[in-house]
Assembly symmetry: C2
Homo-oligomer: 410 residues x 2
């Protein structure tokens, strides 16, 4: 089965909004074995919508549309679909009750415009939109499938997950199983070289995708076939073999994040922690406190952006800084020891480095970063040499430090 995604809305064509819906939908479709042939963004224009659907219909079996379903005049998708299918709008009671429920919740009165949102083309199956007032719509005609959804991302996602993907999966004869392994601190090409033989030996029905982000590479295994149990067992066996090759780089799977994993480990051990940050400037604390409930184990941080603060607040010896420099193994060790003392915690991360663009020397170029991790399980200091880009250096240093803590607690 092949699909085309059509996103409708003037805001996409003046660059006001980045179309993130399409990538998400394409990712979901590819996970159930449906190949996306084209993604098309067009304006709220009747003629253009009709042309786009006609062109798509000549290429694919499934056409998914988002946008143009709001209550105002510009939102013309529904009427245009009536024209396309030669049908008319009819009132749908279930959709109206959903609108009533939402307005009651928000404490507003329903206007005539909102009531009109409960009207749908006569030939469609309305799909319940629990997060909004515009129902999703499912059409089948001449062996092709058409679905229309609102463009608001969380409304679209719920409609896809609750209705459209299960319906498509029921029609598609292919079963898809996937598993995503998360690695930290190692580049795509280095990983590729390390797992080359394993990758070449993968059976034909299992595909590997590299999904890189700054500091993190995700490896997604996708198996497609008929027997779900068999696919799962194949994927799991191959994942086990992958763990044997690169276990030191793997920190989690699926939707895991380092800050969440580390947080759970700290809770398990009943440990408390704090950070002493120089070049990362509070970014590690920001990542950790992004997790709801982190105050159970995270006590705080000292961002020491000058030598005086390292000395006066964290208790780093002026002699250490004079002799070894602020970016040194000795300094990060004293920073970590200092924050443990000052904040009365078990565990500490400390970081000092040259984020750039200035401040580099021949001996310590921009990107040079020292990290120290102290916990009841041990002490480790490590030097990293990242790149030239300030923002990316900060991100990579933070992830590397969290991963060192994870390994020490594990």
């Amino acid at each position: 089965m092949k699909a085309e995604i059509i996103t409708i809305g003037d805001e996409l064509l003046i660059g006001q909004v980045i179309d993130t819906n399409s990538a998400w939908m394409a990712g979901q479709l590819s996970l159930i074995g449906i190949k996306v042939a084209q993604i098309t963004s067009i304006s709220d224009s009747r003629e253009h919508i009709l042309t786009a659907i006609k062109e798509a219909e000549s290429r694919v079996d499934v056409i998914l549309m988002t946008g143009g379903l709001g209550p105002t005049r510009d939102d013309i998708t529904k009427n245009t679909l009536c024209d396309y299918f030669g049908t008319k709008l009819v009132f749908n009671q279930e959709s109206f009750e959903n609108i009533e429920r939402i307005f009651r919740m928000r404490g507003y009165n329903i206007t005539l415009l909102n009531k009109a949102q409960a009207e749908v083309p006569e030939n469609c199956t309305p799909l319940l939109n629990v997060n909004g007032t515009a129902p999703g719509m499912w059409f089948e005609q001449n062996g092709k499938i058409y679905a229309s959804m609102p463009g608001v991302p969380f409304e679209m996602k719920a409609l896809m997950e609750d209705h459209i993907l299960p319906r498509l999966q029921a029609i598609s004869s292919t079963t898809i199983v996937h598993r995503t392994i998360l690695t930290q601190g190692v580049g795509e090409s280095f990983l590729a070289a390390k797992i080359e033989a394993w990758e070449t030996a993968l059976p034909k029905h299992i595909k590997l995708a590299y999904l890189p982000q700054p500091g993190i590479v995700r490896l997604r295994l996708t198996g497609s076939g008929r027997d779900k149990a068999e696919l799962e067992s194949d994927i799991n066996a191959n994942t086990d073999a992958l763990y044997e090759l690169i276990s030191e780089h793997i920190f989690g799977e699926g939707d895991d994040s380092l800050e969440l994993i580390v947080g759970n480990m700290l809770k398990q051990h009943n440990y408390t922690m704090a950070t002493a940050e120089s070049c990362t400037g509070g970014y590690i604390a920001h990542l950790i406190t992004g997790i709801a409930g982190s105050s159970d184990y995270f006590k705080g941080s000292v961002v020491a952006y000058s030598n005086e603060i390292k000395e006066n607040v964290l208790g780093v010896s002026p002699k250490t800084i004079e002799k070894y420099g602020a970016v040194s193994e000795e300094t990060v060790f004293e920073m970590a020891a200092g924050i443990i003392r000052q904040f009365n915690v078990n565990c500490a991360i400390s970081v000092s480095g040259i984020a750039g663009p200035d401040g580099g020397t021949v001996e310590k170029p921009v990107g040079t970063t020292w990290v120290c991790v102290l916990t009841p399980k041990g002490a480790e200091t490590r030097k990293f040499t990242f790149g030239e880009h300030r923002g990316r250096n900060i991100r990579r240093a933070a992830l590397a430090a969290l991963d060192m803590l994870r390994k020490q607690l594990g």
Copy 2:
């Protein structure tokens, strides 16, 4: 003039990569008065590329393509364009010298595959790509314009800015002038109500766009016409009138950021600063230290994620916390005073709030946030009530605090 953007690459169709290029290009085109009629993403397939160009050609005057220009087998755009225009590839000396320059810089030897990147269709004008080895290409045929660029964002952007936009602007008879005003801490609908009469009175050749982000709303004025000086004077007069209406919400223009503006003010005054953060968890320090050179004025931060740290490190009185709570005017004031004392700085921001999702009460619901700003110019404490979303509460609190500091220093 109307345009279509065609982005080529399998990675877009499996959802691996979000197409951010198109929105940026569409935004740039709309600023020079060219309307984007459609954005199309397709796979690296010869047939599909040919169909997409043909369909686009029937709709628009300008077709901009990105992607498929790398050195490997999958990258077939160049050969497909030769087929489309009925021409052949020829060697281009200037492009080759650019490739040589880039390889010299990286210390690599040129392979045959890279040398082939200097070949371009005979009927095109090659465009120098200073950031990469694949040249841009400009075609004109039967009154239509076609341009092809690499999909790597910073290569595409430089080609657009240096070559394609100036060429399109020279052809387009319309002159466009724009000015973007940045506001903080006030919602789109509130702003719209406040400037309604002003907006209605705007002359026809000046358009207003609201570009909202969490915590920040950008107001973009775009004037289109023939006489540049006249347009600029019209835009400036209307902007002056806008400042009179909402000056207390405006913090900058264009590409300004609050952390950059505040940093420049601190430098000008020769002030130093530090932050004492509870609910923002180091995010304000992270924003400030994202600016290169911020160590000139930023000395650091204490993230006090527990009452003990507020008391022991920042010197907040236990009685204050007991009597008024950690989220109170009294506590943020003592936090700010404490960090000024501890870090020996002139200026401080302190924040304490309930980021959520837990910890709210009837009196202090999730989103309740106190901010204090102390500088040699004054002292201010303020209470905010943000929303229910943890990440957005952290972002909005940080921006609100930076804006309070900006106003006090201004």
